[in-house]
Symmetry: C2
Subunit: 319 residues, 2 copies
């Protein structure tokens, strides 16, 4: 693959320290935050320094950071898992932390040092995920067609930009539109930046210009990611995905979603939606400018019902 | 009327100078920009220091500022009208400037000093508009019902907040939701601020949270303004209005639009849509952070087809 976006693999271990790309500094700076323990890991997750796939990398690698703990290592790993699980309610971290802790317990019952089991489990996981994501990038490139004009929302962690790079090498001419994605502006800060690195032409639009874009036939395809997938095909993704999906249906534009295994969640209604702090909307330049009757409503995600999804490109199972 | 919002009448003459509320400074500050001639008037319009109805006030009052010009006053008034007409393409300033210049020409043909005619015409206009807007505020209060939860977008120049104040005095319990309205944030900066002054409970939401709000039945009514109206009932309003209208239809929520006389525009397709400078999206902290393949698309307005409008509350004719 010719181009790998820093957002594709935004956290890596080096000399016993986890280096986590601070996505809130992109595109201004490529800065990695050193994370040395579970407390620092929970902080980078909760402060949204890293998102989506980056959070998974942090969750997995955090177990490696905590292997030197004194005392009952199995008990300690359970505590680590608990703290990670509680960091953000919309994410199914319990699934993956459960697998790591379960493997350690099972190994210990057979006389294997939990430290060895955890190391192997996490490394195996990471290698598997990487291979499966690389494969999905190829599949995304396949759905891109010559002369497509593709709208995306928020950020899909490198895969879209890398697929674009492959599509370009296949001679396809493709343009992109990216929403700003208020209030964190992941579209402006991350997606535009990485599509630019893939040498794509990309146009930034406000979140409220989607109907105009579609009505004027300036886009013919929508590709978005997902943070969770349900067994019935519903997905949860960054707030705004739902209205883009409704508009895509209204204007008869196909909606393609990158999904993951549903892990026992039956439907979108079973996914808790995290309400972020209203201050993320109400504080300007560090100051709260409004009185007490002024509130903010900022759900981090919304659910796209499966009826609105034209095609799902799943990450192959395993995780 | 108990409460008058500064946004209801954001420009007034005092000692021969037009004082224009700098809406870009609200809610931080109530600052009025002194405007002494047509050049300064065009600047406040083009830089969007004032918007919508404020622009009409500026256009009308600018003729009063230019009455002391030397030479052929009729020719000068025509030049003033031309400069105002060219300031922003989406607005039908030519209509109102044509009336003022036409009255001056007709008066002059009958021996009346154009300065006198313009003075009377503008003053008569302003008094008439004020009375008609006051009346519309009453009508808006009538459509507000006890326990309504009303979503609005951008800003309707005082009328919504003043109607809320009347509705409260009638014992109605009403809540409001306001979109941020990227990229100028008129919802956050103006609407939230003036609804707060009217003692309303108001909740700010990102532009991309509208489908979530509606799906969760957190709003039961949408009230927006319009910048232009067409004879067939289509309207042009701040970008984002169109997608809110599509979503309102999808979720069966009534959409109420404050409209004005159509002045010969047959349909929404006859309204030119102003494309604002892409830098308004692409410049962060004064710096352009992206390369040349990164573009911005920011139409200032979009058109809501009349089929999506449940009820129009027109300003009574005259203007």
């Amino acid at each position: 693959m010719s181009f790998e976006s820093p957002l594709f693999w935004p956290a890596y271990m080096k000399d016993g320290v986890l280096h986590v790309l601070d996505e809130t500094m992109v595109p201004g700076k490529l800065k990695y935050i050193p994370v040395k323990n579970v407390k620092e890991a929970v902080a980078v997750i909760r402060d949204m320094k890293t998102r989506a796939f980056g959070q998974f990398l942090v969750v997995l690698n955090t177990f490696l950071l905590e292997l030197n703990a004194k005392g009952d290592i199995l008990k300690h790993l359970q505590k680590v898992a608990q703290e990670l699980n509680n960091s953000r309610p919309t994410f199914p971290f319990a699934e993956v932390t459960g697998i790591v802790v379960g493997a350690a317990q099972k190994g210990a019952a057979n006389g294997v040092d939990p430290r060895v089991t955890v190391g192997k489990t996490v490394q195996g996981f990471l290698a598997g995920i990487r291979a499966r994501r690389m494969q999905r990038v190829q599949e995304i490139a396949e759905v891109m067609q010559d002369k497509d004009s593709i709208l995306t929302h928020c950020n899909v962690s490198g895969e879209l930009a890398m697929a674009a790079s492959i599509a370009f090498s296949q001679g396809k001419r493709i343009k992109f539109f990216a929403t700003e994605t208020r209030p964190y502006m992941q579209g402006a800060k991350l997606t535009v930046w990485e599509l630019q690195q893939a040498r794509a032409q990309v146009t930034l639009v406000p979140d409220n210009a989607v109907a105009s874009l579609m009505a004027d036939r300036l886009v013919n395809k929508v590709i978005i990611g997902s943070d969770r997938s349900a067994a019935n095909g519903d997905i949860a993704n960054k707030i705004g995905s739902y209205q883009i999906a409704v508009l895509a249906k209204e204007f008869e534009i196909p909606l393609i979603v990158l999904t993951q295994p549903s892990k026992g969640v039956a439907s979108g209604q079973d996914m808790p939606i995290e309400l972020r702090d209203a201050d993320e909307l109400l504080v300007f330049g560090g100051k709260k400018v409004f009185g007490p009757k002024v509130l903010g409503f900022y759900p981090g995600f919304d659910v796209v019902p499966h009826e609105l999804i034209t095609k799902a490109i799943a990450i192959n199972a395993g995780l």
